[in-house]
Symmetry: C2
Subunit: 341 residues, 2 copies
């Protein structure tokens, strides 16, 4: 039985919990037994039960707004602070889904370090720790003989990391470029349908794709965080935000979109990574490029390789179950259930 401590219980953490609830039978059949023993949030309480928490009751409690609504059970501990929880709980894996901070990666980075120190594997949906401290995390994880996994940080659960680091093993990857932010791709797609930038942004906000403050998405910082992660995972690069050219889509006008369409092209916010560089900027992509066909909130990545040429993966880049699956696939891998049969 893999005991899981979950940090953050927003959309992504709830997505994983839902999957663990809905798929428990299939997962056991596949050889995976996992249970949540601890859940910690910043402002909605925390819970720990050494014998496991009930996914259904967790979801019901958070639905009502606070983990305090989880029913009393013999052996249940409530509202420990997160670091204490990590140090005291008997989990095998820490799953980190709290908010991304691309500058300090805190407080999540300290949570990861504490987990590794207590010989827990670490699985992240939070981009901060991987973007900011990949090398140090890997060093500590290796020293403690635990695993560091982060499939959900790039393209949700669409297996972009696994494709590069596992399925393409034996190929040399020379470059990756992709559409790694769904909000901006949705806005650009709506603009092709005739909307202006402001209208398209408002629609993205109404649909829940874009935050009230859309800066991180539309100015390219979310995609830049993913560039940092890919740079580290693919090339052991230490590129930082300061080394990168990062440009968003707020300068793209309806006229720009129309001009591209007339030339048989599409504006896409392209994130690009090479062994020595990283960038995010809007590019006019010809229709013959598979990335041109990626519409709405979908994401895609193209790996340029020595033996296979270009390999492109297109799929969801966000979403409750989609990102939850990214976490699950890392848990399956750690449990040794990920191999081909």
């Amino acid at each position: 039985m893999m005991k899981i401590a979950l940090i953050g219980f927003g959309v992504v953490g709830q997505g994983l919990t839902e999957i663990l609830r809905n798929k428990s039978k299939e997962l056991v059949q596949a050889g995976f037994r996992g249970e949540l023993v601890a859940v910690a949030t910043r402002s909605r309480g925390s819970l720990y039960h050494p014998d496991g928490l009930d996914p259904e009751l967790l979801l019901a409690a958070i639905q009502r707004g606070h983990l305090d609504y989880y029913p009393d059970v013999y052996g249940l501990y409530r509202n420990w602070d997160t670091l204490t929880l990590i140090k005291q709980c008997n989990a095998d894996v820490l799953v980190e889904t709290s908010n991304t901070n691309l500058e300090t990666a805190q407080p999540a980075l300290d949570y990861c370090y504490a987990a590794i120190e207590h010989h827990m594997h670490v699985v992240l949906a939070n981009k901060g720790p991987v973007a900011v401290a990949y090398a140090e995390l890997q060093r500590r994880a290796k020293a403690a003989a635990v695993k560091l996994r982060f499939e959900a940080t790039v393209m949700a659960g669409t297996p972009s990391i696994r494709l590069a680091m596992q399925a393409l093993k034996g190929c040399e990857i020379r470059e990756a470029q992709g559409i790694l932010n769904g909000t901006t791709n949705f806005i650009l797609t709506q603009m092709e349908g005739g909307l202006g930038y402001e209208e398209a942004l408002a629609q993205a906000q109404a649909l829940g794709y874009a935050e009230a403050d859309p800066t991180a998405d539309v100015d390219g910082w979310d995609a830049a965080g993913k560039v940092m992660i890919l740079a580290r995972a693919l090339f052991n690069s230490t590129i930082t935000l300061k080394d990168m050219e990062v440009q968003g889509i707020s300068q793209i006008s309806a006229a720009d979109v129309k001009a591209a369409q007339e030339a048989g092209e599409k504006w896409k916010l392209i994130a690009r990574v090479t062994p020595t560089s990283g960038s995010v900027h809007p590019v006019r992509v010809p229709l013959s490029n598979p990335l041109a066909a990626v519409s709405g909130a979908m994401n895609a990545i193209t790996y340029n390789t020595d033996l296979l040429g270009d390999v492109t993966l297109v799929g969801a880049g966000a979403g409750r179950l989609q990102t939850g699956f990214g976490l699950l696939s890392d848990l399956l891998d750690i449990a040794g259930v990920g191999a081909l049969s």
Copy 2:
């Protein structure tokens, strides 16, 4: 050291041999040591050396037209028949790259059975044995505690099988549809550029994409073989060619192509697999479908899943190094070098 017996020494077998020669240093660094100990062809001789054959000399010999041109070395055996070679050689893995026969799968199927009986893993680029006898091969492989791998049978080395069976583990795949034949996709793409069907076919033949007898490609049988493989691998289905609707592209006229273009669509030869059905036929695909953007000899597959929605992989569907890499990736997996680090 993994000792490899290679059946068939055409484009694909030579591609693998080239990779083993060119990448030996990187492969050793990655933890993989493999060497060819036996190579068998139908009409160009066979070689066996218990201590290994030299990739460079093998390629030089076949370049001159026959393995008899391989230099004499102490301990070298020549021109054993293929079954004797498999039974007598001390290989750990059989790599089967001879020509596909979708009806009997022979003689390759007997080679696979002999290899399994002698406790060799089996890696296939040949579609026949997987399409015709997947269940029996798996049964025998399990009983002999060896592995059966066939990444190179669908989309060359583009990891279509690995994506479905490994990276998407935990998702339920409900359906797969794709462009699984490069020749027909090349012809359709050229027709969009204004060529008639016959001209486009002639161009495909001139470029080496299509055989002198193009029936297997243009009538959909090559794609149908891949449908059979996917049906077995994804759904444990036993669907046969007779159960499938298979239609090729030879009925598509220049006028059809033009009508689709005017409607903002593209003709694609779509192979489709569900748990209970399989088919190959030309479909008018809207430009919003990622498959519409797959041009020329490229291939693509879309898996429809419960947790991630649609996941599409686009990449090479043929080629010397591309297919050679498919074989290599299976060898790496068998050697245990395929895992995430």
